[in-house]
Amino acid sequence: MQALYAQLLVGLINGSFYALLSLGLAVIFGMLNIINFAHGALYMMGAFCAYFLLNIAGIGYWPALIIAPIVVGIFGMILERTMLQWLTGLDHLYGLLLTFGIALIVQGVFQNYFGSSGLPYAIPDELRGGVNLGFMFLPIYRGWVVIFSLVVCLATWYLIEKTVLGANLRAATENPTLVRAFGINVPRMITLTYGLGVGLAALAGVLSAPINQVRPLMGADLIIVVFAVVVIGGMGSIMGSIITGFALGVIEGLTKYFYPEASNTVVFVLMVLVLLVKPTGLTGRAA
């Protein structure tokens, strides 16, 4: 039984990464209608950004939590301005192909310069060590990841669902022409939203840097699972993707305990089941 609690907690930790990443995807899809396949590459860039900040500029983990998402977010906004904005109104497939291509290029460039084994990034001194919870040894850093990502997820949800800014944003996706008539600069808002989604991915990257090696392919390995999370939660649903992210982390954690061989596939089995029963995802609305 003790082991089970431990696995539940570990699942929750992994779930926080899924939640942060799928949240960014959901924001981008919900507001821009773009299936952002470059998300994994941008997550990886966040981790690399933290690595560069530390090793080149001597800037540590805490400032990196703010700086890396901004830097990568700006990179994302440049992508949106120069490439993605031309795809408005076209079929989803174009956005998917373009972002997938961008992901391959970014990963290829990083792999060319940094190889595949990855670079070390240490846990900040303040968060070293762990506490014994009785049923498991919880590294403090992992506890921090769960709490921090939960706060970020809920703040993002609040921003989009409960504030005037969020209301404008949602209105702009429904009817851009009308919103523009109110004097709101819709294209700029779209760019900033893409920047926000990308920033969330980069933030997840910084959070994961001390746990995983900083590797060019770290995002590619994760992104497929995250897409499954988004599909299960319902494309574009903010709260849906947060809840599904955490829930799937837990389910995956339990699989690792009961039948580890299937831990890489359980998410996809669930995806198939959900799609069979409810094609719009658990919380999605019919198109």
Binding site: Q2, A3, A6, Q7, V10, G11, I13, N14, Q111, N112, Y113, F114, G115, S116, S117, G118, L119, P120, A122, I123, G130, M136, F137, P139, Y141, R142, I211, N212, Q213, R215, L217, M218, D221, L222, G253, K256, Y257, P260, E261, S263, N264
Partner: protein, 405 residues
């Protein structure tokens, strides 16, 4: 009578010229089949192709009229893709010899094909000891290391040092299974006990669930029967979960210098494991590694897999040179290669056994503390050597049909 003599001369002349034509075929095509983009690409990948290129340049065969082509491809760690490339290489590209072929799953698939098509594989990257045991082939030489040797060296040393209960974290494919099986045999034989095992999918990023299970088992040794990125992530996360601090010891059954480089000495210090090549072993290895490292992008030192590609090709070229030409007959060339002793600056003197196993000493290393290291890539302390004739599976235990008993 006169007619008969001239006919004889004519016949003899034809035979000589036909034989001469065969012997004069001085074309060789080398194919490096490896992981160019995935988790093993640092320990094989482009570095293996570079090592092959260096072997070709150093062989001096070009000056003797030989023409050697080199091609390389990415098998993406997928046996089906590896087999498809191999088939095309043999049928269309006329590749004579496959080098590297890391990943045991891919290696076993290519092994069958190479035998069927009578080509050659010098495997320097895959670990499974099956390549020279039940699956041995007259066309395959296993050059650098294998799971039996790793288990024998690292496993035995750890049990002797008091690590008599084991829990395995095993990569769920041919390599992990073989490494776990061979290590279990050594542990049990040395008086230890395996109390549990968990199989994780290849290329996992999170090992916390598996590590918790290993921690709960209370085994003295947590044996990592995985490789590359899987091992580095396991080690990193094990330190996070306080595995070593809690009194358990991590056993890296297969670690490469590129893994240690990636982890950094702070995390990797104190790990002990077995390799058959290290750049800083002697003058010969240092000279080669210096030339190698100058030609890589990150000034990386060669891994034992990459060093094996060089060493294997050196012996192959020597053999063909002595034969005077390339018969394009894999089994025949491999038989010749087994007859001659091997000797190069990287692995020293050695030989190739009937089962295709290349033998040389195995070195037990320990990773230095950051304070002991003189700079980048100065990572290992040599703590033990197993002589060549004891390092690998004895022929008396072999299930290989090529071994006469």
């Amino acid at each position: 009578m006169k007619h008969r003599i001239s006919a004889l001369f004519l016949g003899a002349a034809l035979t000589v010229s036909a034989g001469g034509a065969l012997a004069q075929d001085k074309n060789i095509k080398v194919g490096v089949l490896t992981d160019n983009s995935g988790l093993y690409s640092d320990l094989g990948g482009a570095g293996s192709t570079l090592a092959a290129q260096m072997a070709i340049e150093d062989s001096g065969l070009a000056a003797k009229g030989w023409k050697i082509d080199l091609i390389s491809a990415d098998h993406q760690n997928k046996p089906d893709i590896g087999a498809t490339i191999a088939r095309q290489w043999i049928d269309v590209e006329k590749v004579d010899i496959f080098m590297d072929v890391l990943n045991s799953g891919v290696a076993l698939a290519v092994n069958n094909l190479v035998k069927e098509k009578n080509a050659i594989m010098i495997n320097t990257g895959a670990a499974t000891s099956d390549l020279t045991n039940a699956q041995c082939s007259p066309n395959t030489i296993h050059w650098v290391y294998d799971t039996y040797m790793l288990a024998n060296s690292t496993g035995q040393a750890l049990v002797k040092a008091g690590g008599d209960t084991w829990y395995f974290l095993t990569a769920d494919y041919a390599f992990g299974h073989a490494l776990e099986r061979d290590t279990t045999a050594v542990v049990v034989k040395s008086g230890g006990k395996v109390i549990g095992t968990v199989k994780h999918p290849l290329n996992s990023s999170d090992f916390s669930s598996f590590l918790l299970q290993a921690q709960a088992s209370k085994a003295k040794i947590v044996g990592m029967a995985n490789a590359g990125g899987d091992t580095t992530n396991t080690i990193k996360q094990a330190s996070e979960f306080g595995i070593v601090a809690g009194g358990q010891k991590l056993a890296g059954l297969l670690l490469f210098i590129t893994d240690v480089h990636s982890l950094g000495l702070k995390v990797a210090q104190g790990l002990s494991f077995t390799e058959t090549f290290y750049w800083d072993l002697n003058d010969g290895t240092r000279a080669f590694s210096k030339r190698f490292s100058e030609r890589t992008k990150n000034k990386a030192q060669p891994s034992m897999v990459q060093a094996g590609v060089y060493s294997g090709l050196v012996h192959y070229f020597k053999t063909l040179d002595a034969m005077g030409g390339n018969p394009h007959d894999g089994a025949k060339v491999v038989a010749k290669m087994k007859e001659a002793p091997t000797d190069d600056a990287l692995f020293g003197k050695g030989s190739i056994r009937a089962d295709g196993r290349k033998i040389h000493p195995a070195y037990l290393f320990e990773v230095k503390k950051p304070s002991e290291s003189r700079g980048p890539w100065d990572y290992y302390k040599l703590i033990g050597t197993t002589p060549a004739d004891q390092a690998f599976r004895p022929l008396s235990e072999s299930a290989c049909p090529l071994v006469k008993k």
